[in-house]
């Protein structure tokens, strides 16, 4: 095993790692709230609910990491946007940016003084109190382009990449600054891995990614490394066309959604990167029977070296996923 991979494994290890089990890191948000008997809104707005719901899932599923991932609007709220919560539905968020003047006026917040960002920081701290030092805690931030889209609208951001590129570049720079602040705060609170969600990247070309995102990702990931954290990059959707560029970004763990060929992704990303994924959360984990789940698990397992693999659904585990399906995934990923 190469030295970088050894370092990553060291951060991923738990008290149970030595028994040869495959790391299992399901993304749990709505499902965690449901299992805990709380609404998704309560999970998003109260760090104690978030942490305790995930701790209940840890008891149920014996997974190998916990995360404070919840929703995309923590930083957006800190920038001043109003977030509207609605029971178990996804939240809605006010747009703050409609023109360059809005970008110029936008001020980077103090993330310790904003309710929603402080709530997540407290969540990391609470996890660390409960779990002690030898368990991976994944902090979470929005990537710069995703945050730009959260603040100004997805369609607007994608059009402005073409018609107002300077606006996007100035805005993403400001988002990067807040992203760094938020990442550092979570590392200080006890997170040893920082998850970076930049879903919108799968919707743009390689050329656009190279121009608008890659330099920012490189800067952000270097910053996280300099402050002692590992980087887990999560881009929902098909990122196959971005893989050659992503291999230059400095990622430690790359999440792959179900439509990506994990073997090909591993070959492009190289032996120093952990690949995380990539069973279809809906058709396999939610709706599948044991045979389907087993077949897809074996397919993923056989596509890359075990030492480079973290088992996960391609994206969030759906709210009503049967407990037994997730338990089965854990069962078959324990080395006999």
């Amino acid at each position: 095993m190469n030295k970088k991979l050894q370092r990553i494994h060291s951060a991923l290890s738990t008290p149970k790692t030595d028994d040869g089990r495959i790391y299992f890191h399901p993304i749990l948000m709505m499902h965690a709230s449901f299992q805990f008997g709380e609404t998704y809104t309560n999970l998003m707005t109260n760090y104690k609910v978030l942490v305790e719901a995930n701790m209940k899932c840890l008891e149920l599923y014996d997974n190998d990491a916990v995360s404070v991932i919840s929703d995309p609007y923590r930083e957006t709220s800190a920038f001043g946007a109003t977030v509207i919560f609605n029971g178990n539905n996804s939240p809605a968020c006010e747009k703050l940016i409609t023109c360059m003047d809005d970008v110029i006026r936008l001020k980077n917040p103090n993330i310790y003084q904003c309710e929603r960002t402080l709530d997540r920081i407290n969540g990391v701290h609470y996890f660390r109190q409960l779990l002690g030092n030898k368990f991976p805690i994944i902090g979470w931030i929005e990537g710069p382009l995703a945050e730009a889209a959260d603040i100004s609208g997805v369609s607007e951001t994608l059009i402005n990449i073409i018609i107002e590129p300077d606006l996007i570049k100035r805005l993403t720079q400001k988002c990067l600054t807040t992203g760094k602040d938020f990442a550092l705060a979570q590392i200080v609170a006890g997170a040893n891995i920082i998850g970076v969600g930049d879903a919108i990247c799968s919707q743009i070309s390689t050329e656009m990614y190279n121009e608008f995102c890659l330099p920012l990702h490189q800067e952000l990931f270097d910053f996280i490394h300099q402050n002692g954290g590992l980087v887990k990059l999560h881009i929902c959707g098909n990122i196959t066309h971005l893989l050659p560029s992503l291999s230059k970004a400095g990622v430690d763990i790359l999440d792959c959604d179900w439509m990506v060929d994990m073997g090909e992704a591993h070959r492009i990303m190289g032996p120093e990167v952990m690949m995380c994924g990539n069973l279809d959360p809906v058709s396999v984990i939610l709706e599948g029977n044991r045979e389907i789940i087993r077949n897809k698990f074996e397919e993923a397992k056989n596509s890359l070296p075990i030492e480079n693999w973290i088992l996960m659904g391609g994206c969030e585990i759906p709210m009503y996923t049967p407990i037994n399906n997730i338990k089965y995934l854990r069962e078959i990923s324990l080395k006999k």
Partner: protein, 210 residues
């Protein structure tokens, strides 16, 4: 001015040029339906094909749709009441109640409009009552529903049941889409079709319109 430049203007997402060329053609009394059929629809079909092949991405699709709409907005008033004005059919499209995701739905709406359908875009978080009223009020041929969450996609069944109860189900075809949606789900709820991208949605709509 050569209207084939309109094809290029839409394909490359050049709104200003699309508007300028369309204005020139209106001044020269070019048949508006000809402009739609020969240039707008073909440009949208081409960008849709490129998107499906991974040679164009969402920004290019959005820009083409924007240019197409700029042109279409100038032509629409000329079509109203014309005996030879043709539409492939009226489609109601919306994201179901509880769900706020709209970019995929909006792309599908733009592609359908660019390819000759009349599209009524209801927006997001749409109740079954709104779908039913829209079908009644517009004599729609197709209803398109979008959902991006496993928690909201069951509402598609609610909409289908509401259309059935209103006596409208036999008059419309139902198409569904969205990340967690698949053919198995479409068959289970009694939808007439499912598509996983905007270009495929146009192809499906064309086959469903009889």
């Amino acid at each position: 001015m050569n209207t084939s430049n309109l094809y290029d203007a839409i394909l490359t997402g050049n709104l200003a040029m699309a508007i300028e060329i369309t204005k020139q053609e209106i001044t020269h009394n070019t048949d508006p339906q000809f402009i739609i059929n020969e240039y707008m629809m073909k440009a949208m079909e081409e960008i849709g094909s490129r998107f499906e092949a991974g040679k164009a991405f969402v920004p290019e699709l959005l820009m083409a749709a924007r240019a197409m709409k700029g042109s279409l907005n100038l032509i629409k008033p000329l079509l109203n009441g014309k005996p030879n004005a043709t539409t492939m059919g009226t489609i109601i499209i919306g994201t179901v109640k509880g769900d706020l995701h709209d970019i995929g739905k909006n792309l599908v709406a733009s592609m359908l409009e660019g390819c000759g359908f009349t599209v009524i875009n209801l927006g997001v978080d749409i109740s079954s009552e709104k779908f039913v009223n829209a079908v009644k009020g517009n004599k729609a041929s197709i209803v398109c529903m979008s959902a991006l969450l496993t928690t909201t996609m069951p509402y598609m069944q609610t909409v289908i049941d509401a259309l059935q109860e209103a006596g409208l189900r036999q008059n419309v075809k139902i198409m569904i889409g969205g990340a967690p949606v698949n053919k198995k789900f479409a068959d289970k709820i009694g939808a007439d079709g499912y598509s996983d991208n905007a270009n495929a949605a146009v192809t499906l709509a064309r086959t469903l319109i009889v």
